[in-house]
């Protein structure tokens, strides 16, 4: 087993004025591990994810990340440029609303290809081939490679955003409600894809969702959030089958068995 966690969050807190975004969140994420974050709307999931992915400056606490070169860095002690490099070369970020994660004015192929170019790819044929491959993987007809994302359905836009993120083989992907806009069959395909990727590439993932079915299938470990705080953490199947905290029990019992 690897000795250093990929990501280490310690006492992470983010306030919005007097209002709590997230408070005192600590956990380790290991390479290849999929961590699910569940909780009702307003429980602080997006705030936590945005802090972890360096989109939002925490009010307190620390996030350490172990880079590909083996060096552990304090995310918020890095320069802006170093953080951007991390996001391009080591991370993926799948936003809740695909419009926030895509460039709507350039083609689907360019949306996928430009991530590759940002990490140094130059060969036009290769880039286009990769773009076609990832569009197909996410069940987007490769014939639509030159179409603009604004002409795609919401579900297709989300799939395109995921393709754009996976093309650079990130080590850690942050996802905020990734399956929200997708129809059931594409959800299943996507869940399968993410599972295979995490296994084959050692890809780690932090997935925020209110859908307990998604974490049941995808995540190894689970954080349950309420009012900005983590009320329960553990193995996903243990938290779902034998929840300890009253709030986790309420969450689990309020869904229909699947």
């Amino acid at each position: 087993m690897t000795e250093t966690p990929l990501l280490q969050a310690t006492a992470l807190t983010r306030m919005y004025g007097k209002r709590v975004g997230c408070r005192d969140v600590s956990f380790d994420l290991w390479p290849g591990e999929v961590l699910g974050v569940v909780g009702e709307s307003g429980s602080g999931k997006t705030t936590l994810l945005n802090c972890l992915s360096a989109q939002l400056e925490p009010s307190g606490g620390e996030i350490l990340y172990t880079r590909r070169d083996g060096r552990q860095v304090d995310i918020f002690a890095l320069s802006e440029g170093e953080r951007r490099l991390l996001l391009r070369t080591e991370w993926g970020l799948v936003r809740q609303n695909p419009r926030d994660g895509l460039r709507m004015a350039v083609s689907a192929g360019a949306n996928v290809g430009e991530r590759l170019m940002a990490v140094g790819a130059r060969h036009y044929g290769d880039i286009r081939g990769q773009a076609r491959h990832w569009l197909t993987e996410l069940e987007i007809d490769a014939e639509r490679i030159d179409d603009l994302p604004r002409n795609f359905s919401g579900g297709m836009q989300q799939r395109l955003q995921i393709a754009r993120n996976l093309v650079t083989s990130p080590r850690l992907v942050f996802m905020d409600e990734p399956t929200g806009g997708l129809d059931v069959s594409v959800q299943a395909r996507l869940l399968d894809l993410i599972r295979r990727l995490t296994r084959d590439l050692g890809l780690a993932c932090i997935i925020v969702t209110h859908d307990l079915g998604v974490v049941r299938m995808l995540s190894h470990r689970l954080l349950v959030m309420r009012g900005g705080e983590v009320v329960e953490a553990g193995l996903t199947d243990q938290v779902l089958d034998d929840p300890q905290h009253p709030y986790s029990q309420m969450l689990v019992s309020s869904i229909l068995p699947v």
Binding site: M1, W30, E33, S185, A188, R189, L191, D192, R195, R199, R216, M217, H220, R221, G234, L235, D237, Q238, D241, D242, Q244, H245, P246, Q249, M250, S253
Partner: protein, 239 residues
């Protein structure tokens, strides 16, 4: 450690295990499922757990697998040569134990929809680092042994009969030679012929040295595989 002691050292050693459920959504009512349970299982042994419905048989197996959180006591399981207490282990350690040490057959198949049966059965082997060819071959062998028709292998099990799904479940748990096997009614919903095929697999696992803890709804299958039995009694304390 000599080969001699390795044979007789327990693979599972449970000491004073308690499990109580507190139902916060039902005014904090409590259910006591397990009370100071002691149990050891060595390699080559199959301990069959008996008891009426609700006696805590599934809870025991689930605690060992880390699916239920032990309320007290210790659950030592030999993992890569060392005894690890599942009751106190980190999630990461339990996941690692599930990859290579512990296999579990649950009563119901719970998998990602749309994944073909063969891929599902190959998955534990791939996760443990085996090559795709090797995994495919072994998955095919066990599915054949369990009489699952080859025309079903490329299909997702969602539409299968209960008995077919159960056999996929068994194949997934027994395709890899886990040193520890936890079997929760593996022969329920199987006909006589398929029950015999499962009994055969369990006996084979026993003779290769696996430590097995099992619950069987039919006495005959239990008797066929047991080296020892324990009886659990329901002890519900409502509060």
């Amino acid at each position: 450690m000599s080969a001699m002691t390795e044979q007789t050292d327990p693979m599972i050693a449970i000491q004073g295990l308690h499990k109580t459920f507190t139902l916060h959504t039902q005014n904090g009512a409590t259910i006591s499922a397990l009370q100071s349970l002691d149990l050891t299982v060595s390699g080559g042994e199959c301990v069959v757990v008996r008891g009426a419905s609700g006696a805590g048989k599934s809870s025991l197996l689930r605690c060992v697998y880390g699916n239920y959180r032990a309320g007290g006591g210790a659950i030592w399981v030999r993992h890569q040569g060392a005894m690890v207490d599942v009751a106190k282990a980190e999630p990461r350690t339990i996941l690692d134990m599930r990859r290579t040490t512990m296999g579990f057959v649950s009563q119901f198949l719970r998998v990602i929809p749309r994944i073909p049966t063969l891929d599902l059965v190959m998955e534990p082997l791939l996760t443990a680092g085996r090559s795709a060819e090797e995994a495919r071959e072994q998955a095919g062998t066990i599915l054949t042994h369990l009489n699952l028709p080859q025309r079903l292998w490329s299909l997702a099990p969602a539409t299968f009969s209960g008995g077919e799904q159960q056999r996929v479940n068994i194949a997934r748990a027994m395709v890899w030679d886990y040193p520890v096997l936890l079997l929760d009614e593996p022969t329920a919903s199987l006909d006589r012929e398929n029950r015999a095929a499962v009994v055969e697999l369990i006996l084979a696992a026993r003779s290769r040295g696996a430590a097995i803890l099992g619950v069987f709804h039919d006495r005959e299958a239990g008797d066929a595989v047991a080296t020892d039995t324990i009886e659990l009694r329901a002890n519900r304390l409502a509060a």
